[in-house]
Symmetry: C2
Subunit: 408 residues, 2 copies
């Protein structure tokens, strides 16, 4: 067994969190900003000091490789170090630094693995500055062309390609050139389940499919006092009925089906006027593509029915649609086994959020390890995971990587 140095891991997390630090203990390192560059520089320095061969690819993904005794495909781990505007210090960073800690522990133990070990951080996972999110890993897995990625601009019209060049991370390596034997990502849960149920390790089987739709409803604005109910064409009523329907649908479908109406605006938005316009969003997620499609179809049918009865027009615009990702079953089993061997409690679960690992599953066997997030807080400066949980996750990662690196 390779022993993880808790103090060194926490120290690295602290030092990285110092870059782009914001009030409340969080971080602001939006992708490809000066803060992101400073974080990257710190990581690259650490990788080189740990003896890794650092490769930067054309989308700015950084991969540090520790040679194995045989010239085989590497066992790769990693995540991202960019954050949202008011992010926490663990989201992404933890997985990258735990991978670095595995390398440092191997160095301390002077151990050489059969297969190379690789630690990666991918560009713009958050999507908070440039869309799409998970951009670096998506390009790495061949799901997005370089020129398309370069052309993505932030709200000020600044492009990814220009920013990569400006901060010195438009590298020479071809994205995806290094095809891993396996990829394992360690991440905080970003949800409340493990914390709520007092479980130490989440064995991630899948990533939920995501369906985001924006609806624009056009009704007729009328006096709230003088217009009989039967003559109303209330855009806000349709929006409300969808929110209530989505809640009932999620309960009825059960499993991991979730549904949210997060954004809504009414016009004219006055107490005594029936709204003639409502713009609202529906976020549906499921790990089963057929069920996600069923949820989408049922929401659409409900909207059609209410729109006809209320005599309002509805326009739908798909904002995002990702199919669910199922991780490699054998690798998922091994996460569970290694956690069990350390007497850690486990729970199989889907990921409700998107991760780089879901892109890597397209090109190699992939799995994820979750550790608890206190109160499920995420994308929040108050995001927190207890030190014991951080250590446990890193130890599971180390043991699994060692096993993977030893096989032919």
């Amino acid at each position: 067994m390779l022993l993880i140095d808790e103090k060194r891991l926490l120290g690295a997390l602290d030092e990285l969190a110092g870059i782009g630090a914001i009030d409340g203990g969080g971080c602001a390192r939006l992708a490809l900003t000066d803060e992101d560059k400073a974080g990257r520089d710190l990581l690259v320095g650490w990788m080189k000091a740990a003896g890794l061969d650092v490769r930067i690819d054309a989308i700015g993904n950084v991969i540090g490789v520790r040679a194995g005794s045989e010239n085989l495909a590497p066992v790769m781990t990693g995540s991202h170090i960019d954050t949202v505007r008011t992010g926490g210090r663990y989201d992404g960073n933890y997985g990258v630094l735990a991978g670095l800690e595995v390398v440092r522990a191997l160095n301390d133990a002077k151990r050489t693995t059969r297969r190379p070990i690789a630690v990666a951080f991918f560009t713009n996972e958050e999507g908070a500055r440039f869309q799409p999110d998970m951009m670096g890993s998506l390009v790495y897995a061949g799901g997005l062309g370089l020129n398309e990625a370069y052309a993505a601009t932030d709200k000020d019209g600044v492009a990814v390609g220009d920013e990569l060049r400006r901060i010195g991370y438009l590298g020479a390596a071809k994205p995806g050139a290094l095809k891993p034997h396996a990829f394992v990502e360690l991440h905080i849960e970003q949800g409340p389940i493990l914390d709520e149920e007092k479980v130490q390790i989440g064995v991630v089987e899948s990533v939920q499919g995501i369906s985001w739709t924006e609806y624009t409803v056009t009704g007729v604005s009328n006096h709230a006092g003088t217009t009989p109910m039967r003559l109303r064409r209330d855009a806000g009523y349709l929006a409300a009925s969808v929110n209530v329907f989505v809640r009932g649908l999620a309960h009825e479908m059960g499993g991991n089906q979730v549904g949210t109406v997060g954004a809504l605006s009414l016009r004219p938005n006055l107490i005594n006027v029936v709204p003639n316009r409502a713009v609202f969003t529906v976020d549906l997620r499921n790990t089963d593509e057929a069920k996600l499609k069923e949820a989408e179809a049922r929401v659409a049918a409900h909207i059609a029915e209410v729109a006809a009865a209320e005599r309002v027009e509805v326009e739908a615009k798909v904002l995002a649609r990702f199919e669910p990702v199922i991780f490699e079953a054998g690798l998922v089993d091994r996460v569970e086994r290694h956690a069990g061997a350390l007497s850690l409690t486990t729970q199989r679960m889907p990921s409700g959020a998107g991760h780089d690992a879901q892109m890597m599953q397209r090109i190699c066997p992939t799995a994820m390890i979750f550790v608890p997030s206190v109160a499920g807080l995420s994308h929040n400066v108050k995001e927190h995971t207890e030190a014991a949980d951080l250590l446990a996750g890193a130890q599971v990662l180390a043991n699994l990587m060692l096993e993977l690196a030893s096989e032919v």
Copy 2:
């Protein structure tokens, strides 16, 4: 029978609509602005030219009195000439100018009535610049003190008292000094019922009671993908459920019960975040106070139930509460009889909007006459009533006033 001069009535409406005219054919004469002063000056000039004794009271109400043959309480009609910011040309103005037309027709016919005839326009009926609405008639009926009314300020902090003085309409008369024998207000419906049902005269029996409440809901903001449905504390869901409940309640209670969720805002209002805050309004109206109370209680009970299940906090703030007003039954019957005598079709109905007449009912027998609003448009530059309907309403008013003015 006293014949109304259609051309003269429409000409007066046109001329008044030219003051504060805005694109689309509407008017902007907010209370106590320069435009309101110009409209008042035009009316006062017309009243004087028609031989009326013009009295301006301390809240700026203007009453023109045509002497009768006996010194009895006058028969009064009237309404208001202030408008909302993008108002129509008939709301209020029609009732005042129809009253003036009755006087002009009496002058043409050289007829003297037993009782005096009075034509009034009340200050700030709309409440679009200063609250409360129906301010002038409320003060006239003794429901609001002068000093309280003077202290009301607009959004720039300008006070009613100062504006009355500035435009020269802080008069010497004591509000309410002239107690009418009866008050009859002619008004456009501001709703779709008469137009929809092709009825010429609305016989207004009552004014709906109004209950306005603003609710502020506090839940917990969470990731829309990673938070299981059972752990959600969704402020937006409660708001949506109230909207749907109010609709069902209005249908179930039937009669003239209406309910509207017109305003709603969510925070953080993002597609993938469960809202932690919702602020929304509920507008409930009924002509029966007991039923209005029942509706209020049932909405409150629904909110309490959903708030407990969703574990969210709800604060309620009453923004307005007026009890229903029932007009004098005998006078209402007479409106119906006079319309019938002219072979006009009638329908008994409540008023969904507030009117000066509801304040006058506190001090004298009062009734209202409605004429159709095309498509029910109100507080809208496109507000329209056909000339034939304007004439019919004015003729009913004239005949009823003549009858009232002839009695002891």
